[in-house]
């Protein structure tokens, strides 16, 4: 009961106090010098053009992400942007036949293997992991595309771009490294004009380095494709091997 009176005394004490309400349109708070409360596009009085160049820096830097820059370019410049690059890249890849993916998805539905197995099966079909196939897997399995991409890019055995006809794997295991594998890799890179992990422009060769391939007695070892192994390789032998493979490709054609 006395507590109630105390509470009532406190509330009554607030009656004569100054009110904190600001009657906005009539009264205005005095804002600090550097306040940027209201964003406006400043119009240049000389040209009647906006001073904004639509650089979208404000949009990307806004800490609370309230800025949206809607603009239309007056100059039809070939805009170099991420979306365009990605589109070109996607167009350059052969469009994969997603029908082929059906058994992989069925396998996933029946036995629920890990993402690794799904991706391995996919790569078996296409030879690499095409982006549309990954999107399809994401839709079908419910795993987000970024997680799939994380798995695919982490593991060396997965390729995100089409491989060449001949995949040359240079063994960099301990024995092969001691026996001169770096020299072999350098010779291949010099002959093919690509670095390890890349594919030549004519889609004929893919050069890659491998962990230990196993036959250490034959070091240094180079493997072409899945079932052709060349032991005791030398830099000259590497150049000869490339020439031979080129010749084989010509004969096939």
């Amino acid at each position: 009961m006395l507590g109630i009176f105390k509470a009532m005394r406190v509330t009554l004490g607030h009656l004569p106090r100054r009110k904190i309400t600001v009657q906005y349109p009539e009264q205005r708070e005095h804002l600090p010098e550097r306040s940027r409360g209201l964003f406006r596009v400043v119009i240049d009085p000389a040209t009647d053009d906006p001073r904004c160049r639509a650089c979208t820096l404000c949009e990307t830097n806004c800490p609370v992400q309230v800025i949206r820059v809607n603009y239309e370019s007056r100059y039809r410049l070939p805009a170099v942007n991420e979306a365009r690059i990605q589109r070109v890249r996607a167009d350059s890849q052969p469009r994969p036949d997603l029908e082929l993916l059906a058994p992989v998805i069925d396998h996933y539905r029946e036995t629920a293997p890990g993402m690794m197995a799904v991706l391995r099966n996919t790569q078996e079909i296409y030879g690499y992991l095409p982006r549309p196939a990954l999107q399809e897997i994401s839709v079908e399995t419910g795993v987000s595309l970024s997680q799939i991409y994380g798995v695919a890019s982490f593991d060396d055995q997965f390729r995100l771009s089409p491989a060449g006809r001949f995949v040359i794997s240079v063994c960099h295991g301990t024995a092969c490294h001691v026996a001169g594998a770096p020299l072999i890799s350098a010779a291949f890179a010099d002959e093919l004009g690509v670095e390890a992990g890349q594919t030549t422009k004519d889609r004929l060769f893919t050069l890659q380095t491998a962990g230990c391939l196993g036959p250490c007695a034959l070091a240094p070892v180079v493997r072409v494709g899945d079932d052709e192994t060349h032991g005791r390789m030398t830099p000259d032998g590497a150049r000869a091997l490339v020439a031979e493979l080129r010749h084989r490709a010509q004969v096939d054609r």
Partner: protein, 373 residues
């Protein structure tokens, strides 16, 4: 047919119209009044845009409400559902028949005025129950039953306090009660303890302040009014706010000397004194302010505390108070003085001991150990 009958009918209609007008105006004024006062007590300004200092705010609200769809649930009992918000006004309107607004202005000087007030206020409970029942919604029904339980429980201490007033005034007529408080011997001074009991009970009757469980805005959906919207809801709402003024009128009449005050005979037109009307309104709105003030300051009770407070505290105290007052009236030589002394002592004891006893009781309650069976 005599002219007297026609005059009586016309008088009746005019009286009812005035009563309704007072109820509506009081409700609209109270809504603005409460919002502004709450605002000021919370360091805000409150609504001050519609009209001068916001006085038209509730008029705008009322028009908004009337513009809303007149909606009733499919399962609801349409007749009862419509009847309840109409009936809820009866209490507030009909009480005004016996209230002496000022010297020479009482609609009917009933010699059973106090009993009439008790009888009429029960109508509110009835219509709230009706509304909850007709909604055909279990939440509305449960809410209505809670409200009914609360209002019935707190009616008892109110009646017990009224009995003390009747004993002291020696009459059940409200004019006699006002006359008994002449020359500033207001009952709030001579029996403050009874006033406190009555005031607490009347706050609970109004479903306000710390006792606003029936439709505690921050907790429930809306209690009995769950299915009500638009002007039907508005009627319940208006009744609640009009109830503040009406209940304050009753309290002022019974305890604060009614219309009495200085310069009572300064301005008299056709036997109706105007200055006392001002005193009456000032006292009423002082009480309305206290109601708003309490609502802001005191947190809400739990439902078990609510019922326990009525049945375990207020009703026993009311009974004891009646017995003590009766004893004083019967045996004390200067009974007015004796009653004032007794009542002030009781008030001081009640207010002073309340916290200590409550704390002691809570401590004992916590010490109780659950018995496993």
């Amino acid at each position: 047919m005599s002219w007297d009958l026609v005059l009586a009918v016309v008088r009746l209609i005019v009286a009812v119209l005035i009563a309704y007008a007072i109820v509506f105006v009081a409700a609209l004024v109270n809504i603005v009044f409460e919002r502004r006062v709450l605002g000021f007590l919370q360091d805000r300004l409150g609504p001050n845009r519609t009209g001068w200092q916001g006085i038209l705010q509730s008029v705008a609200d009322a028009f908004k409400m009337m513009g809303k769809e007149d909606f009733a649930p499919t399962a609801a009992d349409k007749t009862m559902f419509t009847l309840a918000p109409i009936m809820v006004m009866i209490g507030a309107v009909a009480i005004q028949v016996v209230i002496p607004y000022t010297k020479g202005w009482t609609d009917q000087n009933l010699n059973v005025g106090l009993i009439y007030i008790v009888a009429i206020t029960s109508f509110t409970v009835l219509s709230i129950l009706l509304g909850g029942w007709a909604s055909h919604n279990k939440y509305s029904l449960v809410g209505a039953l809670r409200t009914a339980a609360q209002m019935v429980s707190y009616e008892l201490p109110m009646i017990l306090a009224l009995l003390v007033v009747a004993m002291a005034a020696g009459s059940l007529s409200l004019n006699a009660v006002v006359a008994a408080q002449g020359s500033y011997r207001w009952f709030v001074f001579t029996m403050p303890f009874t006033f406190l009991l009555f005031f607490i009970a009347s706050v609970a009757e109004l479903n306000r302040g710390p006792f606003d469980l029936p439709e505690s805005e921050s907790e429930l959906v809306a209690g009995y009014g769950t299915e009500y919207s638009g002007m039907r809801f508005g009627m319940f709402f208006l009744n609640e706010y009009a109830g503040m003024t009406i209940m304050s009128m009753v309290t002022v009449t019974l305890f604060l000397g009614g219309w009495q005050g200085p310069f009572a005979n300064a301005l008299v037109i056709h036997g109706v004194a105007l200055v006392p009307l001002v005193w009456f309104l000032v006292k009423v709105y002082a009480l309305v302010f206290v109601l708003v003030w309490i609502r802001l300051s005191v947190p809400r009770l739990q439902v078990d505390q609510l019922m326990g407070f009525a049945w375990k505290v207020l009703i026993p105290l009311g009974l004891v108070n009646i017995l003590a007052t009766a004893a004083v009236l019967l045996w004390a030589p200067h009974w007015k003085l004796a009653m004032a002394v007794y009542s002030w002592l009781a008030l001081i004891a009640f207010v002073g001991l309340f916290d200590t006893l409550l704390r002691w009781r809570l401590k004992r309650q916590r010490r109780r150990v659950a018995v496993l069976t």
